[in-house]
Symmetry: C2
Subunit: 406 residues, 2 copies
C-alpha cells in the first residue's frame, strides 16, 4: 500500500503530452492552448479615441480658447482626417484613430454645440487639466510581438476574444483523448432494465463519462461480466481502440475480482495497487506496452467518483499540458476525527463565507456505497493521513466534482 | 441612468422559463434538471455487503465460536443463498445481498482459512464487538419515493450516476437557447482579414459566444455595418430566427450609434438604457413584441465581457430555472479608491489563500478597451457605488469569467 502522494507521483509520471490539433476559434473555449499567442500589432494598434466627442489640440485650450469650429466628423472605420492649421476641432467617435494634429478628446458630456452661419461650433464647458484625455495610446496595453497567452492556458471567453483580435481563426490545442470506460460486476443491469431484487443498475460508467468530460476527454461506455476469459478477450480489443482505459469494479479482494490478474495477463504493467486512503483503497494503476494508461478504480460509487476526480482528471490535465493551478481550499465548519492511518477524503458542501472564506460543511454520508450522499456535497476535502483530528476553522485542499459560479 | 440593482431586477423580471426537452443521460451533465428525480427503490435496495469476506450470525461469535465451516460462496449478482442451521458461514463479495440467516460480515483481513477433510473453514482472527459489521442496511441512505434531486439542479457527474441508478436513460432538462450574437462597428474587419492601419479585427462576437456557452446557450454570429437601414432590415430577420439577441457596439452617444433607435423602430420595447456602472455604462436592454430579450451591450471589449458575465449569464440561468447560488466573494489584496458614484467592476486575479480565503489581486489595466488585460484576471469584483474606498482585506462579490478547479 502506498500513500496518496506516491500514487499521485507515479501516475503523473506517465502523463505524456497529448498530440496538438487545430480547432476553429468558435470551438476553442475550454480547450488547452498549445502555442504561444503573440500580438501581431500594438494593442491598441493606433492612438484610439475612447469617448464620443471632439478631438482638438490641447495647446489651444491652455491658451484660453473654449469655442472650436468643427472641421468634420471622424467615424470609426474611416480613413483618418487630419486637423488642419488653426483652432478647429473634429468630431470623433469611440474607436476611431485620434486625428493627426490633435492630442486630446473632450467628451460630449463636457460640450455644447451651436450652428451658426452654416458652421458648427463646439464649446468646451469643462476643460481638462492636461493633454491626452480620452485617448488610449498606441501600444500602451501590449506591444507587437508580446506574448499574450502562454501555452498551457485553458482558453476562456476573453482569451478567445484576444485570439480573434490578433487574427487567429483557428488555434492549436491539445487533442481530446478518447477513453474506454468499462464497468464490471455481475450484480449490475443496464439503466433501462428493471433490476431483480438482488441486482442494481449500472451507474458508474455514466458518472465517470460525465466526470472525464470535465477535463475534456470523450468516453466510450462498456459493461463486462465478471468472467476472466471474457474480460481478457474484450479488454484487449477495447484497449486497442481507445487512448486509455478506465475500469470500475473488480479490483478488491473478492473471489470475482479478476481485473488486476487479467490486466497483467494483457501485458499491462502494474505501477501500484492499493493506496492508503478512504474511500478508494483498492485503486490499481498501470500502463500498457504501448504506453496507454489503465486506471482500475474500485467499484463502490463514491470510491469510483473520488478516484476519478482526485487522480484521473489531474492526469488528463497534465497530459493536455494544462498549466497547473494551486489547489483550492475549504475551511471545515466542524471538527472531524478520523483515526485510521489513511488519507480521508470527506465529502463537503462548500459555500462562500461573508469574510471571503470558502467554507466546507462535512457530509460524511453512509460510506463508499452512498452515491446519493454526493448530491448533497460538491467537493471532497483531503484530510492528511498523519493526523487524527481536523479542527473546525482549519482549511484543507478540496477536489470539486460539481460546477459552480463562485 | 439606473443602478446596477435596478438593471438586474428589470432584466431578471423578463426571464421566463425556457421549454423542457428530454436528453439522453450521456448528454445530461451540465444541463439544468426540470423534474424532481425520485428513488424508485430503497438506497441500497437490499442489505448490502460492503467488504469481501464471510457472512455469519453474530450470536455464534458472541458465544465464543471462532471457526466456521464455509457453506458456500455468495457472488454479486447471484440469487441469494440462505445460511442454513448450525454455525456455518458463507463467503460473500462486496455488493452482494447479505445472505438470509446472517447479520454480520467479517472481512478477509480479519480471517484465516484452512482446508481439511474436503471442507473449508474460516477462522476469525479479529471479532467485532457488535452485529451488523460491514453491512449497508437497506434504505439507510434513501427510501423508495424520496426526492434525490430537485428541479433546478445543474447536473454534475454524481447526479448523472444517481439518475442511472434509478433507471433514467433520459432526463428532462431546460432547452438550450440559441442567441444571435451581432457585432457592429465599421472599424471592424473579420478575424481572417488583414486590418488597415485604422481598422481592428472583430473579437467581441467570438468572446461573447464563448461566454454564453458557459450558461448553455448556443450562438449564431453576425456582423453588421453602422447603417441604420441595413441594421433595421437585417436585425428584423436575425431576431425572427433566434431566441434572443445580443448586440455589441452602437449604443453610446456617437453619431454612428444607431442601435437604440433601430431597435425601437423594430418594436423592441426599451426597459432601460445606461446603468450607473464602470465599465459598461451605455448598456441597453429591451424585449420584442414576442417577448424575446434584446441585450445591446457597449462595444468596448471589457465592457462587453462585463455585461455578458454580470447580466446575460444570470438571465440565461434564471430562464433555465437553475437554482440560484449565493454569489462568490473575494478579498481585496490592496486598497482601491474609486470616487465616481458608479458601481465599479474591477478585474481581479483570484487565488486561494492558505487560510481558506479567496483572494483577489486588482488588475485595473488600461480601461474598457484593454481586452488583453483580462488575460491576467479571472473575475470582476463588484465594488458598490455608494462607497469610494475599498479596503485591503475586505470581501466583495465576484463574477468569474474563467474556469478554474478551485
Amino acid at each position: 500500500m502506498i500513500t496518496v502522494e506516491e500514487a499521485t507521483r507515479l501516475m503523473q509520471a506517465t502523463a505524456t503530452p497529448v498530440p496538438v490539433v487545430a480547432v476553429p476559434l468558435t470551438e476553442a473555449a475550454g480547450r488547452v492552448l498549445r502555442e504561444p499567442l503573440r500580438a501581431d500589432r500594438d494593442f491598441p494598434p493606433f492612438d484610439r479615441v475612447t469617448m464620443d466627442g471632439i478631438a482638438l489640440r490641447f495647446e489651444a485650450l491652455r491658451g484660453g480658447r473654449r469655442t472650436f469650429a468643427v472641421a468634420g466628423v471622424q467615424h470609426a472605420g474611416a480613413v483618418p482626417i487630419p486637423l488642419g492649421e488653426g483652432d478647429g476641432c473634429l468630431e470623433v467617435m469611440t474607436g476611431t484613430v485620434l486625428p493627426p494634429g490633435t492630442d486630446t478628446v473632450i467628451r460630449y458630456e463636457d460640450l455644447s454645440f451651436t450652428d451658426r452661419n452654416g458652421g458648427r461650433y463646439a464649446e468646451v464647458t469643462a476643460a481638462p487639466e492636461a493633454a491626452g484625455q480620452n485617448v488610449h495610446r498606441q501600444g500602451s496595453d501590449r506591444r507587437a510581438g508580446d506574448q499574450l497567452l502562454a501555452p498551457g492556458r485553458l482558453l476562456s471567453p476573453p482569451d478567445v476574444g484576444v485570439a480573434a483580435s490578433v487574427g487567429r481563426s483557428s488555434l492549436n490545442v491539445s487533442r481530446a483523448l478518447t477513453l474506454a470506460v468499462v464497468s464490471t460486476g455481475d450484480e449490475l443491469v443496464d439503466v433501462d432494465q428493471l433490476p431483480l431484487p438482488h441486482q442494481i443498475r449500472r451507474s458508474n460508467a455514466y458518472a465517470l463519462a460525465a466526470a472525464l468530460g470535465q477535463a475534456g476527454a470523450r468516453s466510450q461506455l462498456y459493461h463486462l461480466r465478471d468472467d476472466p476469459q471474457q474480460l481478457e478477450t474484450e479488454l484487449r480489443m477495447i484497449l486497442a481502440g481507445a487512448d486509455g482505459l478506465v475500469l470500475s469494479g473488480g479490483v478488491s479482494m473478492g473471489k470475482a475480482d479478476f481485473v488486476p490478474a487479467v490486466l497483467e495477463a494483457l501485458g499491462v504493467q502494474k505501477h501500484f495497487h492499493t493506496v492508503a486512503q478512504k474511500p478508494g483503497k483498492p485503486l490499481w494503476f498501470g500502463t500498457s506496452a504501448e504506453g496507454k494508461a489503465v486506471f482500475a478504480l474500485p467499484g463502490n460509487p463514491v470510491s469510483t467518483m473520488l478516484c476519478a476526480i482526485r487522480y484521473v482528471l489531474p492526469w488528463l490535465r497534465t497530459g493536455a499540458q494544462q498549466t497547473p493551478e494551486p489547489p483550492g481550499r475549504a475551511v471545515l465548519t466542524e471538527t472531524i476525527s478520523f483515526a485510521p492511518p489513511l488519507t480521508y477524503f470527506l465529502p463537503v458542501q462548500t459555500f462562500p463565507g461573508a469574510d471571503g472564506r470558502r467554507m466546507g460543511r462535512p457530509r460524511p454520508g453512509g460510506g463508499s456505497g452512498d452515491l446519493a450522499n454526493l448530491t448533497e456535497a460538491d467537493a471532497f476535502v483531503e484530510l492528511p493521513a498523519e493526523r487524527k483530528v481536523f479542527e473546525a476553522g482549519e482549511a484543507f485542499p478540496i477536489w470539486k466534482f460539481r460546477w459552480s459560479e463562485f
